[in-house]
């Protein structure tokens, strides 16, 4: 997700403005000049300054150009980057109902297929990885992983 310096700079300036405004609305501590508002307002001010400077291209000359990351792809291809956070969101929504084993199997299989794995790799991985992770975290480390509709066989 390559954005122009103007876009990111203005976003940061806006965020700084919101932080300073949000900070200024925090209640003061009775009997003290300095309260919880001071730090967010200071940070907000700094972000506004940095954001404006970035938007105007100040400091750009210090940047080291990135090594070429292979061929350029379409926006749709770039959206594949959203698969991992999407899978984490799926975990949050599904794990209580489906249970760890099934949710983890879906996550591993989806990620493997998204990375170009063939079924002969993705399917055993989707079966084996959840069993291994469950054994380590639930059995060994006692992390309470949800059973859901398919509890672990041990």
């Amino acid at each position: 997700m390559q954005l122009s310096d103007r876009t990111t700079g203005l976003f940061l300036a806006g965020l700084g403005l919101a932080a300073a405004w949000g900070g200024s609305r925090l209640p003061a501590v009775p009997g003290q000049d300095v309260g919880p508002a001071a730090f967010p307002m200071l940070i907000g001010g700094g972000l506004i300054m940095c954001g404006v400077m970035i938007a105007f291209g100040i400091g750009h000359s210090f940047e080291v150009p990135d090594a070429e990351e292979g061929e350029r792809h379409s926006t749709a291809y770039g959206l594949r980057a959203l698969v991992p956070p999407g899978l984490l969101l799926f975990y949050v929504l599904a794990v209580e109902r489906l249970g760890f084993m099934l949710t983890a199997a879906v996550i591993v299989a989806t990620a493997a297929f998204a990375l170009g794995a063939k079924p002969k790799l993705a399917v055993p991985l989707a079966i084996g990885a959840p069993i291994f992770v469950h054994a380590v975290f639930a059995k060994l480390l006692r992390v309470p992983l949800a059973d859901g509709i398919l509890p672990a066989f041990w």
């Binding site: 954005l3 730090f39 970035i54 210090f62 292979g70 996550i107 591993v108």
Partner: protein
Amino acid sequence: MHDMLEAFRLVAAPDVLIAIVASAVYGLVVGSLPGLSATMATALLVPVTFYLSPIAAIATIITASAMAIFSGDIPGCLLRIPGTPASAAYTDEAYAMTRKGQAELALGAGLWFSAIGGIVGTISLVVMAPLLAEMALSFSTYEYFWLAFLGLMCATLVARSSPIKAIASMLLGLLFACIGMENPAGTPRFTFGMTDLLGGIEPIPALVGVFAVSEVMRAMVTPEPPKLPDRKFGSILKGQWGLTKKYQWPMWRGNIIGIIIGVLPGAGADMAAWVSYAMSKKWSKEPEKFGTGHVEGLVEAGASNNASLASGWVPALLFGIPGDTITAIAIGVLYMKGLNPGPTLFTERASSMYALYIIFVLANIIMIPLGILMIRMASKILRAPRSSVMPVIILLCAVGAFATGANLFSVLAVGFFGCVGYVMERNGYPVAALVLGIVMGSMVEQNFITSLIKSDGSPLPFVERPVSAVLASLTLGALLWPAGVWVFNRLQARRAAA
């Protein structure tokens, strides 16, 4: 003496020894896989450390990071793809040696001088930390504020990016650290009515998101690295003693530079390797050989990156200020295990400190046999397709984040910070500065607000004490340095044009 014996007893505990060996193998494997950094290896270990004894937890962090930094040299040497950013500085040189048929010498140099660097770095930690601890006992909130601020500024100064973007990243991290009730007034800030945010943003999910999830996101849109052809290696350590004698000055210079850079808050192993490789080339008697497969740069930079790893623990243990991203994670683990960083750690928990030194030495010694084993198995491990590694990592991110507090909100936080890290890296914003901001936010604010209350709002006491005055000038120098460089470059360009 009693503390030392107690330290040996702590390290000899079976759980600690198992943790050292297991994390060594884990660090070697993860570090050798292209794209998986030592920081990511360490971040993914944190949920496991929750369930270990304090010494075993610290042992896993120390051992895994040291192994991963060395192991990053393996794909760099064999495939020209650095396993970790700390190996990037000399990847071309190592690969050129492989093409000349000297892969064993290059890999052996990486292993041998990494181990030496790690041990020298540990000696610096043993010598420096107690001396500085005595000095730090007299520090007030003013000094701590400037020290923390200096740490943040150093992180922005050494970033290979625009200093403005680095400062913006750091401020963003500080802003994230403002979320919740953990501020001097105990007022809920930026929680938007969400109870999950009242406790603030935990550094661990943020670290896992920024370093691990963003890496999986990047893997989704970049082509798979080439496969390593199957090959057999000759003797790995053959000729290393000769190299040690021949290049002893570059080796010592690399160790010292690594130690200095490690102690600087925010500057880590990758910066140490870049600086040392550049210095090696500058001071070499044979600079013309650099880039053609010359081992001298590997000797100096390989020693440097591992030396910085140990010395990076000096500010972390003394002040709770991370020397690099790995110690940023380690600080979280130290707090979690009741080993709160600070000068009193050296007096009240001396045996734990000695245990930490012993683990460092032990990790660097076992690095040699395990490293040789890893090099011999490299052609098998490096052939693992990315589509078999990354899905397991994303699963570990989810389970690991959940394990930190049995809370699904942490899993969401990991996904959110993954997106933040990915977008920032793609647009030239250094994520290390963001992480330091998150880790150090509450410390900076606590000391800043307490100092302001103590001084009745006056800025003068911030610079009245000698140490705080020196720290303040260093901080302002770090802040103004990029502006100075920019003005100088402009003047030079104008003079050249005229």
